[in-house]
Symmetry: C2
Subunit: 212 residues, 2 copies
């Protein structure tokens, strides 16, 4: 059966996004530093050959075990679930053939019809909650897995539903000081995980946890 | 020359101590769960032979690479610096020959003379700030290193002073949901670290960062 998993980058101080990282702040000088911060969190990924190819960054890039991990993450995924904010940020920055190549369920209050992209990605805008999005994702994913893509608040919803079976974190040696934390708003007792695997990269430590 | 280092356990959600972990709450049922939480954060350490021996927990324990790391941490340390809260908690729970065997500088407003313990630990109560404590610790440590022992707020002070050269974190696969976070109240731009080493233990991931 399909697994529900998270694979996300996090700073050492627990943030998945710097303060001010939102499309409405792109031209707001108050948040002038968020691009650089985001880049420092994602350095490990930007250098990987598979990711560069998917995002049309051009040729080159690393092809070692971290690249294999990035490829595996994409290839295992049969459906993605994401929040409205992540979608909006991506809508403005992804290439035309958005880098998912699966159905993507966007949790939002906005009413909007499906938005198919070249390359197999179709965005579906779900107005009736996280559980419904997961049902649809399960149907769509077939034998492949369901990735809770982000942002932090969406991951928190699924952690609180107790459905996240695998939690993969690329821990970057970076401190943001502020922003959106991955682990907040969790019910107690929270979900329980055990260490499954650790891959020591040079620009991030790839931690894999499995639900107990 | 002596290095200034931190070696501390942290939960996946960034806490070094659960909510309510303070001596004044030991009998307060509001915080009934803190002992269990603290235990879950420290499982990896409690099982190590070197630590069990130092804390007089009795014989046995693991003797692998994590135990070597615990031993190295103790043996390299020529002086410790800690906060008043950590001291008070320890005063009530450490064995009579406190497990440091070095001078320990306690940052506090309390005026109190040095308190020597059997086994080579002497607690000095420092009323004139973190910089002065570091000066004294440097003098005392000789060629050995200075450990900023905790708690989180004391580590934050030294991170903000820019003097922490090595940051060692035992990352436990545990979520506290509340408590005292290690990385908070940091100035921007914060200190910069690079990954130096990762030791994958079964109950914690031992991350070692070095100042850039």
């Amino acid at each position: 059966m399909s697994k529900v998993f998270v694979n996300i980058a996090m700073t050492l101080d627990g943030y998945t996004a710097p303060e001010g990282m939102a499309i409405e702040h792109w031209t707001d000088p108050t948040y002038k530093n968020w691009g650089a911060k985001w880049g420092s969190l994602m350095t490990w990924l930007m250098n990987q050959q598979y990711f560069r190819d998917k995002l049309k960054f051009g040729p080159g890039g690393e092809t070692g075990p971290v690249n294999d991990l990035v490829r595996t993450t994409f290839e295992r995924t049969g459906a993605n679930i994401m929040g409205k904010r992540m979608f909006e940020q991506g809508e403005a920055s992804w290439p035309e053939d958005a880098p998912f190549h699966t159905p993507v369920y966007v949790l939002t209050h906005e009413k909007r019809g499906p938005w198919p992209r070249p390359g197999g990605t179709t965005f579906y805008f779900i107005n009736d909650g996280a559980e419904r999005a997961l049902e649809l994702a399960r149907e769509a994913a077939g034998s492949r897995d369901i990735r809770i893509s982000g942002g932090a608040n969406v991951i928190q919803q699924y952690l609180n539903m107790g459905v996240v079976e695998e939690l993969e974190i690329a821990l970057a040696p970076v401190l943001f000081g502020s922003g959106r934390r991955l682990f907040e708003n969790l019910r107690e007792p929270g979900p329980q995980f055990r260490i499954d695997n650790v891959l020591a990269g040079s620009a991030a430590t790839h931690l894999r946890y499995v639900r107990k």
